[in-house]
């Protein structure tokens, strides 16, 4: 599985950090549920089942590291620290969000918190991320650009072109593929000839690894190791995180998978697995879990109130940036 990627100074997470990760995943899950409860939720790509990917990656990034992602952006934005209220307002098209209702989930951005932005065109952010990484290199910021994309983007020429230039110019770029097994309805093996996604990085001499994307601690540890390597000037790297998409492609897309498959995927629910794990290790108990749920519920309720009272965007204001 994991290829050798050099030394890492990463320490195992302590229980405070691990409880934070659990709470962060719970927030992501609850937030998306609240989004679907909106009277007009819009067109959303949800991350249910992929929470450990977003939370694990963000646990490994520094604040200065620009994160770019695909249109499946809600979990990544929340995990990066975007406040739930403004995010919910943005997603339903209100003016209280970071992009004043213009971006929605497909183009969400908030560079001030290290969330450089989503891009709704599959694969569209890959070469942009290479340019963002190049700017870090030229300006000697010490930051590492990180681009999160889906397995669907691996069939696009954009990935080949990006891997090539990133390797040639030794860019501080960490490419992370969240492989949820399907591009809308098409299984990975029907859309990609190479048996493993990490094979795509090999011809470019880019170190790559593949791990279980439902294990938040493993994702955080491996990402930290790769990020450290890249930050040290050793060039780009490629991670494949295998996970399960528990919802359909979007809230408006027909689910083509049968109930047998969907039930089996529930066994890979990262929130459930982590909760079980922390209970087993004696870190989590019923009381703590109830407290955590209460705090998350309060945050969601406040976010819903924020989004409800946020104004609709003014067209005149929007035109100023057109």
């Amino acid at each position: 599985m994991a290829a050798a990627v050099g030394p890492s100074s990463h320490e195992p997470a302590d229980y405070v950090e691990r409880l934070r990760r659990l709470k962060s995943m719970l927030l992501l899950r609850s937030f998306e549920a609240a989004l679907l409860r909106q009277p007009k939720p819009g067109f959303q790509l949800l991350s249910r089942g992929e929470e450990a990917v977003a939370v694990g990656i963000c646990a490994a990034l520094q604040r200065i590291d620009p994160l770019l992602c695909s249109g499946r952006s809600i979990a990544a934005a929340l995990a990066r620290g975007m406040a739930a209220g403004p995010l919910l307002a943005e997603l339903i098209g209100k003016d209280g969000g970071p992009n004043r209702g213009r971006a929605g989930r497909a183009h969400l951005s908030m560079p001030s918190i290290g969330f450089f932005g989503a891009h709704g065109v599959v694969g569209g952010n890959l070469s942009v991320a290479a340019g963002v990484a190049f700017a870090q290199q030229q300006l000697a910021t010490g930051a590492v650009a990180c681009c999160l994309f889906g397995d669907g983007a691996c069939g696009a020429g954009a990935l080949h072109e990006t891997l090539n230039i990133a390797s040639l110019w030794r860019l501080p770029l960490v490419l992370i593929c969240s492989n949820n097994g399907y591009s809308v309805s098409t299984p990975v093996h029907q859309g990609l000839a190479p048996p493993r996604l990490t094979d795509l990085a090999a011809p470019f001499g880019i170190p790559a690894a593949c791990i279980d994307g439902a294990d938040v601690d493993a994702v955080a540890a491996l990402t930290a190791q790769f990020v450290a390597r890249t930050r040290a000037g050793l060039g780009p790297c490629f991670l494949e995180l295998q996970c399960a998409r528990l919802a359909s492609h979007s809230n408006l897309t027909r689910e083509q998978r049968g109930s047998v498959e969907l039930d089996r995927l529930l066994e890979r629910d990262p929130l459930l697995l982590y909760q079980r794990q922390l209970r087993g290790e004696g870190i989590l108990d019923d009381e703590l879990w109830a407290q955590m749920r209460g705090e998350v519920d309060a945050e969601i309720t406040a976010a819903e109130r924020f989004a409800e009272t946020a104004p609709w965007p003014e067209a005149e204001q929007a035109l100023l940036d057109a």
Binding site: S112, G131, V132
Partner: protein
């Protein structure tokens, strides 16, 4: 004032702007040691070094996306696309990312970048010849420039390299052999200003890029038969200098728009309609390429694209039409 070749005007403008702005870098095919396909970057690699003058692989989509990402993250980029036809490969990054960036990020991000590409038919066949300026004019957020003289190329490129958002700077294969006057002292030409090349009272001839050269020749021929054409060189296709055009159209009452691109949804269609809205009694005609690909054969290329004689005939027809 010194006479310089069109390509020299470009390299001087770039060199001055690179001196002024250390964050400006260049990327494109064959621009480093080779000095550009038309020698328009000659000497820049030697002067500014490999960190700022970078050869790219044949990957236009990546090149444009990379430039946009780098620009959004704090650099200033100038990307060279050998032929305007090949910009089609980079349109996703240009149109979906760079042009919309300020709008979709609500002003948090911008992409200060110039994409320079060479248009025009000169014996190289269907995909090394097209003039797709009007496609680009259709994109909100893009500035489109297409000068016809060395002096304008110099002054406009300098403005483009200081512009806040993405600019497409289009030159033309047939303009490179031309010499022109470039001011000794640094001088900028504001974006959005047309130039009156010849004063006349019977009709207004509007063109851009190489067609401005032909329009001036046509005006000389028309003068022999007593027709005085006012020739306006657009220089900036977006934004359009409606004020200068309206003054001339009101004065002559007749408008002939000439372009090397196809007339369907072309530059001329936009100008004719826009000027009729401003000058309702205006009589308009347009001339452009036939609706067919540009062929490799010189005979077919000449058939497809307007020449001086075609402009003269169209002008006479417009003035005699009742």
């Amino acid at each position: 004032m010194p006479r310089v070749f069109f390509r020299e005007a470009l390299s001087r403008a770039i060199a001055e702007e690179m001196e002024r702005e250390p964050r400006l870098f260049l990327l494109g095919q064959d621009i480093a040691g080779h000095g550009g396909s038309y020698a328009e970057t000659r000497g820049l690699f030697e002067r500014f070094g490999p960190a700022r003058v970078r050869n790219t692989p044949v990957a236009e989509a990546m090149t444009v996306g990379f430039a946009a990402g780098a620009a959004a993250a704090g650099l200033r980029a100038m990307a060279f696309i050998t032929y305007l036809d090949f910009l089609m490969l980079g349109l996703d990054a240009l149109v979906n990312y760079a042009a919309k960036l300020r709008f979709k990020s609500a002003g948090q991000l911008t992409a200060p970048m110039v994409v320079k590409a060479t248009a025009g038919a000169k014996g190289q066949g269907p995909t090394h010849a097209q003039c797709i300026e009007s496609w680009l004019m259709n994109v909100a957020g893009l500035t489109v420039l297409a000068p016809s003289t060395a002096g304008d190329a110099y002054g406009l490129l300098k403005s483009a390299l200081r512009a806040p958002g993405p600019v497409v700077f289009i030159d033309h294969k047939k303009l490179f052999p031309y010499g022109g006057i470039v001011p000794e002292q640094e001088e900028l030409i504001p974006i959005g200003t047309a130039a009156v090349r010849r004063v006349g009272r019977h009709l207004t001839l509007v063109a851009h890029s190489y067609m401005s050269v032909l329009a001036l020749e046509a005006a000389t021929q028309l003068a022999v038969s007593g027709i005085e054409a006012e020739v306006i060189d657009l220089r900036s296709l977006w934004p359009i200098d409606w004020d200068s055009l309206t003054i001339s159209a009101r004065h002559t009452g007749h408008l002939l728009v000439v372009e090397e691109g196809q007339v369907v949804c072309g530059v001329g269609a936009e100008l004719a309609f826009g000027l009729r809205e401003r000058v309702p009694e205006l009589r308009v005609a347009r001339l452009g390429a036939r609706r067919m690909p540009v062929a490799a054969s010189p005979a077919l290329e000449a058939y497809a694209i307007p020449d001086v004689q075609a402009i003269v005939c169209a002008a006479q027809a417009l003035l005699t039409r009742r």
